[in-house]
Each structure stands twice: as C-alpha cells, then as structure tokens.
Amino acid sequence: MKTYLPAKFVVERDESRCIRCQVCVNQCTFGVHSYDVEDDEIRSREENCVGCHRCAIFCPTRALTIKKSSLDYRDNYNWSPEVIEDVIKQSETGGVLLTGMGNDKRYRIYWDHLVLNASQVTNPSIDPLREPMELTTYLGAKPERVEFDSSGLRTEVGPQVKLEIPIMFAALSFGAVSLNVQESLARAATEMGTLWNTGEGGLHPKLYQYGANTIVQVASGRFGVHPKYLEAARIIEIKIGQGAKPGIGGHLPGEKVTGEVSETRMIPRGTDALSPAPHHDIYSIEDLAQLVYALKEATGYSKPVAVKIAAVHNCAAIASGIVRAGADIVVLDGFRGSTGAAPKVIRDNVGIPTELALAAVDERLRREGIRNRASLVVSGGIRNSADVAKAIALGADAVYIGTAALVALGCTVCQQCHTGKCAWGICTTDPWLARRVNPDIGSKRLSNLLRSWSLELKDMLGGMGINAIESLRGNRLHLRGVALTDAELQVLRVKMAGS
C-alpha cells in the first residue's frame, strides 16, 4: 500500500564537507543513508529518519544537519499533523499505535510552576563549600516511636536501605534495554551509593555482583523470579503499574527474546514474553498483602518490599491500602514516566501528573497517621536536580530517574524504543547495536550526572538555610506556586508566590 505519511525530517548533507566515509550509513539503523558506489555519492531516504541525530553527532566532518520537515498542512488547531498522521498509520496497518518514552503532550508541568525558597538576612544561608551537607536517605518503614534502654535501642526497626543520594535509577528491564545499559546503571549506582532497578526482565548472572545496589522487580509475568533472584536484591519491588501505561500489561515480542534475554527471563528463546495486565493472584489489598508477606517470608524479613503503582485518579486511597498491606516503600509513577513500548493512546491519555499524585498521597498518608510506615518514592518526569528538590519538598523520600539516565547514555528521546532499532544502542537487544554503549563510559556518564545533581541539591539546600535533605522532606513551606489556580494550589498544599 502506498503510504500517505510525509517525511518528518530533512537530511541536509554539505557536499563540500562530506568525505564519503560512510559513518552515517553504518550508524543509522533506520535505513536513511546509503552509499552509491557508481556515483560515489551518499543518498538519504528522508522518510525513514526519526530525528535521533546519531549520524549528525558521529559525522567526523560535521557535514550533516537534521531539520524538521517544512512540509506543513494547512493550519488547524484541532487537526494537528500528529493527529492526521496517527489516522494515516492506523488506516494503513489496522493495529494499535505503539510508541516509546513518556507522555509528550502539552499537559501542565507542575515542576515549572513551583519555585523554591532561599534565606535572606534572617536564618542565613549555608555555604555548602564550607559546611557539611547531608543528602543521606534511608528507605524503609520507620517505627512510630523509638525506645531505648541501657543496652541501646529497644524498638525493633525493620530493614533500612541507605542511599547516599535520594536519586535511584528507575526500572529498565533487560530486553527493553541492553545488558550494557543495565551494567552501566548497576556500576554507577554502586559507585554513587544508590540503587538501580532490574525491571521485570530478571537479573543477568553477570549483574549479581551488584546485588547490594539492586532493586529486583516482581511483576505480573514473574519473569526470572526465583529464590536466588530475591535473595540477591537489596529491595524487592512489586510492580502493579507503570506511569506510561497504567492498567495494561506488556508484551516483549519474541524477536527481542535473544539467547541472553531468554536466560535472564527464564523463558525459551524467541517466545513472546507476555506480562498480563493484572497480577492474577492480586484482586484486592488483602491479596497484595499476601504477596508482600510471601516475599518477606521468602527472604526472612531481611529487605524492604516496595509496591509500585501508576499515578491514577484514586492513588491516594490506593497508596493507603498499600501501606496497610505491609509495603515498606510506595512507588508512584506519574504519567510522564517512560516506557520501552506502550500503546500511544494509553501513554498520552491515561494517568495523572506525578506532582499532583505525590502531593495527594503524602497528604493522605499523613492525615491517616501512617506516613512513617512506608517511604515514598516518585518517578515520571524528573528532569533535573530542581525537580528532585521540589519532589522532596512535596513529600517524596527519594526519586527514580529513567529518561534522564538514558539521555546521559546518549538517548535523544526520539521515541522509537518500541522498534528495537535504537541507533544509540540503548533500547535494543541487537548485540551489534548494544556495543554502542560501553559500560566503562556509560557508568562514568551516569556517575557524573548524579554527582552534578547532588552538588546542585546541596547548593539549593544551603540557599534555603538547611544542611540536610531530611529538613526539606515534606516541607512545603519551602515551595510557592506560580500561575496556578486555587484548586491546583489546594491539591499541592502549596501557597501562592507572594503569600
């Protein structure tokens, strides 16, 4: 069928600079560039370009420029090019539109409407260059009170996990991303004193050595879940939902189930890995409690159990149930959270913003007097250290970063994760492409990112006149809202700037 889809990008090649080295031909995985031997010329099939910039960055003579196509439809606010092109794709395939990464629509980004405080004159600011600043965070259930006797602490405290910085790497499963990406994350987490998350794809034997910095996931497909996997982990996370696709399961297509993925997921090579939408043993909070305690029993109550849900309308009440079900950590994943593949209609239309969900959950747990019983971790749309500081002021104990970590590894958010063709070698299981991420360099880039953010966090804390992240946690007086409605300020429990 003749496609009616226009090319999205224009590839401009400066012929005076091009040396016919064919780096672009070899780097592009979408079949844009090709070399014509007879004419000694490089040609471009622009309709295949996804705008990932791999070729432009690796062109040794900077001969390539990738621009958005200037082919415009007649202006129509209602029928934007994206809307038109989605209909074209569906009429040509008859299938559900898939996409990668997080919700890219123009919903309000609340982080950008929240501003932080700083000390002036009274309660002077602290200079982080001269004074110790504390970012250490402990995840796990905290007792209501602590009692001491002559021999020390009498209160029984459940397992606590120490983080040097309150930023962890979000769940990225082996299968969705390559093993080199996971190794980069695991090594950076180990070096920086934080944790990375296996996602639902199991733990590759090579990565067991990073167990002390690993969160293992137990999701509806239970792929790769066995006693040694649970024992290896620092935290076990039950995945109920994901911000990019609340309420639906996942399908890892057979093509991505290569030898090593098969070994890690413990399923035959080439078979589809279907994660059902619900856990078939969880139909209620009581059932959830049963799985939480089954995992605690299986690991001798030695590690916290987290429960991850997508941020949805009723998440405050659900989070309350999760805490009462015995979870030590509640993870809230907002609708900007990314994915290796999700139906576009779900990604772009289901779920609520992380910021609002976080504020609502923290408030609800406080009001019910159970906030201490679980740590609160948020993810989905954390882009920089300011977002981290604001999330902590809104009540988070720590955050997960997924997209930001991938960008550190080279991702340009071209949203082609679902194709498995990632030219940056990130979201693929193709061994030839996966080599594009070198774990020595990848872990360095990720460690650098975490180091930058922790330096900036210390600067922000010092400016507010506080020397420990603990003093910012849930401290909404350090936030003010800008250009928000009363209803929004009410949900965020934040005052309007100036008041």
Partner: protein, 256 residues
C-alpha cells in the same frame, strides 16, 4: 502456645504447631532445614500461611491439617505432602519441588510456576496453572484428580496440566469456562468431556499422539502411586489435548 519439636532416629522432626503464627512457624522450618533435618512433620496446622515459601532445601514436609495461602510459594526444591486441603496460591511462582495434596486446593494453583510438580487428589479452584512457563529442563507439571474452575491454564506459556475429572459423573462435562485463554505455550490434557465453547479463543484441540500418551501414562501412574486407584481404568477413557493455536497470539495487535 509453643510448638514441641521431637526428632527420631530417621531424622524426622515433629512439630505441633497449633496456634503458632505463620512467621514463627516458617522461621522454625528454615532453621530445621538449615540444621540438616530432611523430614519434618507438622501437626495441627490450622491455616498458617507461607509454609515452605522461598525454601531452598532437599527437605520433605508432611502437613496434617489445612495449610493456609501461598503454600510453597517461590519454593526451590522441597517436597510437601498435605494430608488435608490446601488453600489459595499453592505453588505460586514455584521454581522446583513437589507438592502432593490429599484433598482439594483453592484458587490460583501454581501461578507462574516454572518448575516442579503438583498433584491434587480432588478439585482445584479458579485460575489454576495461570501463566505457567517452562525453561530449559524445567517443565512445571500440575495433575488435578477432579476438575478445575474457570480460567484454568490462562496465559499458559509452558508446562503440562492434566485434568483427570475423576469426580465427574458419566457424561458430565468439566465445569471450567475460558480454559486456556491467551495460551501461548505448554499443553493441557483433559480426561473426559470439554466443549469447544468452554475454551479460550486462543486454544486448539487435538487427539493425543504416542508421545502424549507416554506423558499422560507416567503422570497417571504417579497420581495412582500418591492417591491410589486403578491407572488402567483411568487411562481407558477419552482424553483431549489442548494446545495453543498460535505461539504468538498477540503478534498482529500493533501497527508498528
């Protein structure tokens, strides 16, 4: 009430666990398994959960009474014999081992099991053998003497389920609907009648071939070894094989 532990010369530890909370009971089991005890008898089990959960040891546990939910969840190796009924979540995500239930079991039997064997003398509840999967030499096997309820073998990705229907009257069909919905691997053998309308739309039926009969015969003989009965009488009946219509039932769902 405290449990009493007695051990005899055959290295069998006997525990009266009446009133003992699940957590303490399981801690005790792990301690005994670590100490090298190879056989444990639990008396007066009244609904304690997670018995054998996450246990990785070559130990045999014989349970007198009714164990609670998640019996043998995430288990890797032990053999559990239940002299009574078992409840929900029996063999949940089990990796290896054997569970023999001399009674009925509740819902979600062998959910996501990857290995091991489960024999049930009586009936199973809803959602038995959902998303079982096999890997390399591991092939989880579930044998149910009676029948199972709706959604049995749903999302099944590997392993073997044998439904014997021994409690059914002559001419009476199995009761489950939506059998094998979303099935994309493994095999279900059904003794007795099951109507096409009871099956998920991803399920195909076939007569048993020679290899199937070998598998079924071996499992029936094991069933008879555990629970008694006449294997020839059980085998001399109509069997149907259920298998996935497509290995990738959702392959054509997406545009790109």
């Amino acid at each position: 009430m405290l449990s009493s532990v007695t051990t005899d010369m055959h290295e069998t530890a006997r525990l009266d666990v009446r009133g003992l909370p699940s957590r303490e009971l399981n801690a005790k089991l792990k301690e005994l398994a670590r100490a090298g005890v190879r056989r444990i008898e639990l008396r007066n089990v009244y609904g304690q959960r997670y018995i054998g959960t996450g246990l990785r040891a070559a130990v045999e546990i014989e349970i007198f009474g009714i164990p609670g939910n998640d019996l043998g969840a995430f288990m890797d190796g032990p053999r559990i014999i239940v002299r009574g009924n078992a409840q929900d979540g029996c063999g949940n995500t089990m990796n290896e081992g054997e569970i023999v239930v001399h009674g009925n079991v509740g819902d979600v039997l062998a959910l996501c099991a990857r290995g091991g064997k489960i024999f049930v003398k009586g009936d199973a509840g809803y959602r038995a053998a959902v998303h079982m999967k096999e890997y390399q030499a591991k092939r989880p096997t579930v044998v149910i003497g009676g029948t199972a309820q709706d959604f049995v073998a749903e999302y099944m990705a590997g392993g073997v389920v044998l439904l014997l229907g021994l409690g059914l009257k002559e001419g009476q069909r199995h009761t489950a609907n939506f059998v094998g919905t979303g099935m994309h691997g493994g095999v279900v053998y059904v003794r007795g009648e099951v109507c096409k309308s009871q099956l998920g739309k991803e399920v195909d039926t076939a007569p048993l071939d020679e290899n199937d009969w070998l598998i079924v015969r071996k499992l029936v003989e094991e069933f008879v070894f555990h629970f008694g009965g006449d294997s020839e009488r059980i085998l001399g009946h109509k069997f149907t094989k259920l298998l996935p219509l497509h290995l990738r039932p959702y392959g054509r769902l997406y545009a790109y």
